[in-house]
């Protein structure tokens, strides 16, 4: 607990998905306004935990990734508001900066255009770049002092509402491996929508928690209980882990998510059906193999379409008190 920790929060701000989320009734939905106020409470809690704690907030907008706030002052908008004697100043700066940057983006957003896929990958890589710089700065300055090699404990929290984008499979996997190298934990909170296979893998591979919200009205409680404690403490309190991790991959030809794939031996490209020529490395495959694979294909299950729900076992939510 002595160590300060760094938290990078990536907020998925896809207007369409949030509209769906607000209108949803089957699981009771959550309007964006309520979500943001709960998020700000959580962020304030993080910087209140310890004075040296640092925070960066990234927004994934359609086709864009923006740094909304950072405690080292990179994304500060010029706020000349009157100081309020009744609020703690850092809270106030944080809240107003995040809210004004989000409002600014949404105002410039053109409703008539078709929505681009959200810039989750951009956010992940930016967060990693930012953490990489913070680590190198800290380790350089800490060398002289009492041998504190890693004085910050970086992690990333992704608040996701959008479904998987198969086209981002490779960049997301690359980000996951670099997070592993930097020893960054990636936590995922799925606020709305079906399970996100890639983010599940991200949380599993980096030792983070993947939490699917069951009751959206208790979002703040979920976040406080699962994501506020830094990874060092999580070993002591049992944070909900994933029950099943899906290791399916996206095929290169149709970007479908497949269980059984056909893999090129030269470049390991994945295809959902036998192809005569590899589209990535232009390798021609022998005809015999194609015939053999095609003959055996009816035995194999056909590649399932994305989003096919799998039977899920009971959530392992032991540490999470039932909201109510």
């Amino acid at each position: 607990m002595d160590k300060p920790s760094h938290l990078s929060v990536i907020v998925d701000l896809s207007p369409t998905q949030w509209a769906f989320c607000a209108q949803s009734t089957a699981p009771p939905g959550l309007p964006l306004q309520t979500f943001l106020s709960q998020l700000l409470a959580f962020l304030n809690a993080h910087i209140a935990c310890k004075d040296e704690n640092t925070l960066a907030v990234f927004g994934a907008f359609p086709g864009q990734s923006v740094m909304l706030y950072s405690s080292t002052g990179e994304a500060m908008t010029s706020t000349t508001e009157a100081t309020d004697p009744n609020t703690y100043r850092p809270f106030k700066t944080l809240d107003s900066t995040v809210m004004s940057s989000i409002a600014e983006r949404f105002n410039s957003y053109d409703v008539t255009e078709e929505e681009e896929p959200i810039g989750l990958v951009g956010c992940l890589t930016k967060a990693l770049c930012y953490i990489n710089r913070t680590i190198s700065v800290v380790s350089a300055s800490a060398q002289g002092t009492e041998g504190a090699t890693r004085s910050i404990d970086p992690r990333i929290l992704v608040l996701s509402v959008s479904p998987d984008q198969s086209s981002t499979y490779i960049p997301i996997m690359n980000s996951i491996f670099s997070a592993q190298k930097l020893k960054v934990t990636i936590d995922v909170c799925k606020v709305f929508g079906a399970d996100n296979v890639f983010l599940q893998q991200a949380a599993h591979l980096t030792g983070g928690a993947y939490v699917q919200i069951e009751r959206t009205d208790a979002l703040l409680q979920y976040m406080m209980m699962s994501f506020l404690p830094p990874p060092a403490i999580r070993q002591l309190i049992s944070v909900p882990t994933q029950d099943r991790v899906d290791f399916r991959a996206a095929c290169f030809c149709h970007k479908r998510i497949v269980e059984i794939g056909f893999v090129c031996s030269v470049c390991l490209s994945i295809f959902c059906q036998p192809v005569p020529v590899c589209s990535t490395c232009r390798t021609k495959f022998p005809i015999k193999t194609l015939q053999r694979l095609n003959a055996s294909r009816p035995l194999a299950t056909t590649p399932s379409t994305p989003g096919t729900p799998r039977p899920l076992t009971q959530k392992n939510g032991a540490a999470l008190p039932r909201p109510g």
Binding site: T125, C129, V245, A249, E259, V263, C264, S265, L293
Partner: protein, 448 residues
Amino acid sequence: MPPAGRRIGDDFVDDSDSDVSITGLDEEPSRSKAKGKGKAIDRKKKDQGKGKAKDQAYAWEATYTRSWDTVQEDEAGRLEGAVQDLIARGRRRRLLAPAAAIRRTIIRHLVLVLDLSSAMMDRDMRPTRFDLMLQYAREFVTEWFDQNPLGQIGIVGMRGGLGERIGEMSGNPQDVLKAILERHKLLPNGEPSLQNAVEMARSSMSHLPTHSSREIVVIFGSLTTCDPGNIHDTLDECVKDRIRISIVALAAEMKVCRELCDKTGGQFGVAMNEGHFKDLLFELIPPPAQRAVARTGGGPAADLMIMGFPMRLPDTSPPSLCVCHSQMKSEGFLCPRCLAKVCDVPTDCDICGLMIVSSPHLARSYHHLFPVKPYSAVMTLDDTPEPSKRCHGCAVAFKEMPSTMLGASGEGMSFYGRYRCSECHNDFCTDCDVFVHDVVHCCPGCGK
């Protein structure tokens, strides 16, 4: 391989085939001594090692290690120039790398041959050649599995005139590391036998499918080899089996070693000092680019493989028997075709024979196939109407004024500290440039 030009450095001669220069013997003793080594440096590596070779002395020449000599202060007494030099060197190396070498063998099988002859107790590399070799071999194995997760490594030792199987071919890094963990079991003695070791490595790879690569990496410290038969017959067999042999020699170049590498398409290098030894060894880690038509004709046949991506069961699931060990276990992976439970991946399903891999294993290799394009250094801001104030990656503020302080080799470096992606035209700082290309392999601007 087309004959490349030999390197011409400060202390290298390029035009003589004999090992002894008659005229140069008296006046230039240091020059003729360096000659045997100079030829030994792998020709392919001449671009990369150029700056390095000049700064570093041979291990036997350096009486003292004077690490402070390599860092030079500038007029103002700061080290910035030296640091800039190092960064610039890394940048240039990346720019020189071929951009479109996309065909690489990913499923690799490698036998690491360690020299355990008495020549390895030589102390010209500190602490001894043997200890250094063990240390680097462990690092090599770890890094190799990181980059080639579907590969397998076996270990063979050369000791007492025999080839000795130290570690079986295995895809598990822990197994391989365990084999070379215990120093006292590997203590050097006797003569090495190159032929015996290569034959043993060859026989352990004879059963492999055609689409996987077969490689032998030899770390060779001795200047002699004690063989039972004609080593050229072994060489011919290796060429026929399409085995690549790469050798890192610690003493000097031997003709038979050079020939083994050249004929099989491997790399050969003689380590000048500790750092160079590590460089030579670690150059063998990235998957080799596959030549479109291998000289031996045909090249390794490509094939389409069917693979299953399993689902991982949590630790808390109800225990059941696994098909591989018949043990009651909670955790495990479900084969997607027959739903049998196996303990670990990658493996072949014991029930239906499907190759089960987890997709992260495959994904680890993809950055070799889709590298990030190198960023170009921004030399002037005149042609950009509104230059961004902050780095697109880490949001650090750019310098307003161009810096005048650059190292001696400032080429390829931006005066503004800005590097621009050719796809999305965003500017990045030096740190992010290095980080994006070496670690993330994905541009934050365009996501490619």
